[in-house]
């Protein structure tokens, strides 16, 4: 087992637990304007190293900080210039193409309000939208859904959220119901069996009834859109990069197909694992570049599968926190604070890096170790929810991201 001692750590890829989207209520105000917006959130679990996705190549301290692990404009392969200061990891040519086409925005030195370094708690804050970890049974995206237009439903499929994968991420959990979908490799139970079971649940267990209804409605959407079923994800053995690329693209592309479908969900989320690069992270090549390449493929798959709906789409790439600014003792990085958030989609006014750059001198680093956070991730998400889905400031500050009155939505993100 050569990977025993030499392989990069890929423990956080979980094929069976991929993805989920949510949705149901019509973005009513947006529709009144003649738009039909789509919003997809990709939760990058494991803490993405933002400095490796978009490097501050114009910062005089950058090379000193990362040395051989620094992305550089004269590196091999060379980083892709975003502006006079930042450059993109060359593993992401699709994102670069979309950025140049003004369909991508990169936010740097962002963070949630969470300032410790536990994945579990960090993801909790990222997805719950609360200021502290723990004790939340709903996510901000689900709460946003419930505010859209609770009196008007898209169609007879009713008020369902949509999930891919058997495990529902917190960001879409909540009172707006979820329907989940996983690739098929077994013959599904018949409609009749399902109807009988649903009848039993309605008399005995309403929570199970609600969960099962999600599946039923999902099948209806899939049938009306005449969707292909995907190949089974039944081989969770040691994973090669090819398989990661395949999974990222398949899961994301399937998500986009559902969102693009005329009577499908409009808002959703899915999780992609693999970002916890403690060992041999690499830079323009290597482990993290492999995952960034897979993520780049996922973005391309979403663009492709959205078809015409791409022009009304915003995809958000978010992670629980960043990693240490310096390289650790095993050529990786440990849990940190500030990182990037990326928006990509045809609805954006893109081609910009938005950052209040804190600098990389030791005194500028957070606790002398992490990129200092200067942009609140909630300001980014509020900006999208406000201008794309037309949620109002008060609801965003009170319900979607409680205790966030001081965090103003970033304006002007949409085209």
């Amino acid at each position: 087992m050569p990977s025993l001692l030499h392989a990069p750590t890929r423990r956080e890829i979980l094929l069976g637990c991929g993805t989920l989207f949510a949705w149901a209520y019509a973005p009513k105000l947006a529709r009144a304007e003649g738009r039909d917006p789509r919003f997809l959130v990709l939760v990058l679990r494991g803490a993405l190293d933002g400095l490796a996705l978009a490097a501050p190549v114009g910062d005089p301290d950058w090379l000193k900080l990362r040395g051989d692990n620094a992305l550089a404009l004269d590196g091999k392969p060379s980083a892709l210039p975003l502006d006079s200061f930042f450059a993109l990891n060359p593993a992401m040519p699709n994102l670069y193409r979309l950025y140049r086409a003004e369909q991508a925005i990169i936010f740097h030195a962002t963070a949630t309000p969470y300032r410790e370094r536990s994945h579990f708690d960090g993801q909790d804050v990222l997805e719950s939208g609360l200021t502290k970890p723990g004790a939340s049974d709903s996510g901000w995206l689900n709460r946003a859904l419930t505010l859209l237009a609770p009196d008007e439903r898209v169609n007879s499929l009713g008020s369902k959220a949509f999930a891919v994968g058997p495990v529902t991420p917190l960001v879409v959990r909540g009172s707006a119901p979820v329907m989940s979908w996983v690739p098929q490799y077994l013959l599904p139970a018949s409609d009749d069996t399902q109807a009988r079971l649903l009848e039993l649940y309605r008399h005995t267990d309403l929570k199970l009834a609600r969960a099962l209804e999600g599946r039923k409605d999902l099948i209806a959407v899939a049938r009306s859109a005449a969707m292909d079923t995907m190949e089974p994800q039944d081989q969770p053995t040691a994973i090669g990069m090819a398989r990661v690329r395949e999974y990222f693209a398949d899961a994301s592309g399937a998500a986009a197909k559902y969102l693009a479908s005329p009577d499908g969900p409009r808002v959703g989320a899915l999780s992609l694992f693999g970002w916890d690069t403690h060992v041999n992270e690499g830079a323009a090549t290597g482990q993290l570049a492999g995952f960034l390449g897979a993520l780049d493929g996922a973005v391309a798959a979403i663009e492709h599968s959205m078809g015409a709906a791409w022009s009304e789409t915003v995809v958000a790439l978010v992670t629980e926190f960043g990693r240490t600014a310096r390289v650790n003792g095993t050529n990786g990085t440990d849990h940190g604070t500030g990182t990037v958030a990326v928006l990509v989609g045809g609805a954006l006014k893109g081609g910009r890096v938005i950052a209040d750059w804190p600098g990389l001198k030791p005194a500028s680093l957070y606790e002398d170790r992490d990129l200092a956070p200067t942009t609140d991730l909630r300001a980014v998400m509020k900006g999208v929810l406000k201008d794309h889905l037309r949620l109002d400031d008060a609801a965003l500050a009170a319900t979607v991201f409680p205790e966030s009155r001081d965090v103003k939505p970033i304006a002007g993100l949409l085209a």
């Binding site: 025993l4 423990r11 495990v167 099962l212 599946r215 053995t237 916890d276």
Partner: protein, 498 residues
């Protein structure tokens, strides 16, 4: 048919089998109805309980070495095949170009090229495999799956196996990194201690090569250690952080970033012998002083002198004794067995048992059974996928198929020994309930395979007895086929919850 009196006893027996065990097998309810609590306690006293004694299974280190050898051999075979192909192509090209251009030292266009290395594998090119298409490492993995599934299906009640599953998930490693060691790890580090002392399990788990690789400690060098200085490599704090956060004290219990770094220093040198260099002892534990950060370290207010490998053992033993660990473990146990939001009194009861007995896990398990709160909670904890699947198999009295079980667990989002992250699989309803449609497909597939051998009403009596609701019995009775009846029984709320 049953009296009220015996119905009550049977109901407690069904509760015991689902909540603390792996679900009833034919005859289970009657077998323990006279004293369900006594039966649970008696299972813990059975000799060898919790262990798997199977001479066919390799140790985790043997399995890792075998996997390495098999891969190395395949790689060599591929290279030989490529060389042969190239040689054949060259020969063809030369034949077309005529003899004039043939270089003096060209390889002979033969089926067996001269370029074959002298250290070529001893076995023939097409090494015989017991099952075509299955590599030796895959076969070993499936043997481990089978052993675990058999232990679960064969257990009389399954309380001890549930404890094994709980602890294995608590101290999880993941097949995404250490697939070939995951099964052996559970047998070596977890099973011997599930009814022993927490401190011993902590030492066994953190010192196990699978864990040291999974949480990156095998690559962590003390910055001031000899090897750290010579190779300009340094610390990886991941292992120290996860021990504190996940395995012992729990998150937000007062330790600092500095504690993590100093504990990481303490742990340097706990590493694994390379399978590449050492065919006899590769993938075994070794304390390598050359990697170990010299000097005393202060962790959570206490200074530990440098005693080599003993320095980390001393910290781990103190972590095992720390009051926060007792609360952390008690909370997780109560959540697992009783309810997502367990009664605080139950948590305190278990924490006290943990503290009073210095982490004697058999006594903690007994305290769980002795607590009325553990029995009185409503029966609405949603089973995790593996608990539900095994209960389904047990209810029919049939055997489980390891490969189908493995694939099913993948589809249900809980692939065996492949947790997504070091915190293991979540243990709450919100995580799993949206997979209920998926369970329906699995139940349907299982029902189609067993319908000829399993009677739906028998399954209801076996698995639920007096706890079956009239609505469930009615739905089963009215089903259009045996398959459908079985599906409705397996999917009923009484069977999904415990």
């Amino acid at each position: 048919m049953a009296q009220d009196h015996s119905d009550g006893a049977a109901a407690e027996a069904v509760l015991a089998l689902h909540r603390f065990g792996l679900g009833p097998r034919p005859g289970s309810i009657a077998a323990i109805a006279s004293d369900p609590r006594g039966a649970l306690l008696a299972e813990l006293e059975r000799p060898g309980i919790g262990r798997i004694d199977n001479p066919e299974l390799l140790t985790s280190a043997q399995s890792a070495r075998a996997a390495f050898e098999a891969r190395a051999e395949r790689q060599a075979q591929n290279i030989i095949a490529e060389r042969a192909k190239k040689a054949a192509e060259q020969a063809q090209a030369q034949a077309m170009n005529g003899e004039m251009t043939q270089p003096v030292d060209a390889p002979r266009p033969a089926a067996t090229p001269q370029t074959e290395p002298t250290e070529a594998p001893r076995r023939p090119a097409a090494a015989p495999q017991a099952e075509p298409g299955r590599t030796p490492e895959r076969q070993n993995f499936l043997k481990e799956v089978k052993a675990r599934l058999d232990a679960a299906v064969d257990a009389e009640i399954g309380f001890a196996e549930r404890l094994v599953w709980f602890w294995s998930n608590h101290f999880c490693v993941s097949g995404y990194t250490v697939a070939n060691m995951a099964g052996g790890y559970e047998r070596e580090a977890i099973r011997p201690h599930v009814l022993g002392r927490f401190a011993d399990m902590l030492l066994a788990a953190e010192g196990h090569p699978a864990m040291l690789v999974y949480l990156d400690n095998s690559m962590s060098f003390g910055p001031q250690s000899v090897a750290g200085i010579n190779r300009t490599r340094g610390l990886n704090e991941n292992f120290a952080r996860e021990i504190l956060e996940l395995h012992s004290l729990g998150v937000r219990t007062g330790y600092s970033q500095e504690d993590i770094i100093r504990f990481a220093n303490v742990l340097t040198g706990w590493t694994v012998i390379s399978v590449v260099d050492n065919p006899e002892h590769g993938a075994e534990f070794i304390f390598n002083r050359r990697l170990h950060e010299p000097g005393p370290q202060q962790v959570i207010g206490k200074t530990y002198p440098d005693m080599g490998v003993e320095q980390a053992r001393a910290v781990l033993l103190d972590l095992a004794r720390h009051p926060a660990t007792a609360v952390h473990i008690a909370t997780k146990l109560a959540r697992h067995f009783v309810a997502d939001a367990p009664p605080p009194a139950l948590v305190e009861h278990l924490a006290k048992a943990f503290r009073d007995t210095e982490g004697d896990l058999k006594e903690v398990a007994k305290a769980l059974i002795a607590s009325d709160a553990a029995w009185a909670s409503p029966r609405d904890k949603l089973k995790k996928p593996c608990e539900w699947v095994v209960a389904m198999v047990r209810a029919t009295g049939l055997r489980g198929d390891p490969e189908r079980f493995r694939r099913g667990q993948v589809g249900l989002g809980e692939p065996l020994w492949f947790p997504p992250a070091p915190q293991g699989f979540p243990d709450d309803e919100a995580t799993w309930i949206d997979g209920i449609g998926r369970r329906l497909d699995i139940a349907n597939s299982f029902a189609q395979r067993v319908a000829q051998r399993a009677d739906p009403n028998g399954v209801i009596d076996t698995a639920l007895g007096p706890l079956a609701r009239s609505e469930t019995r009615e739905a089963v009775a009215r089903a259009e086929s045996r398959e459908q009846a079985l599906v409705l029984a397996f999917m009923s709320p009484e069977f999904q919850r415990r």
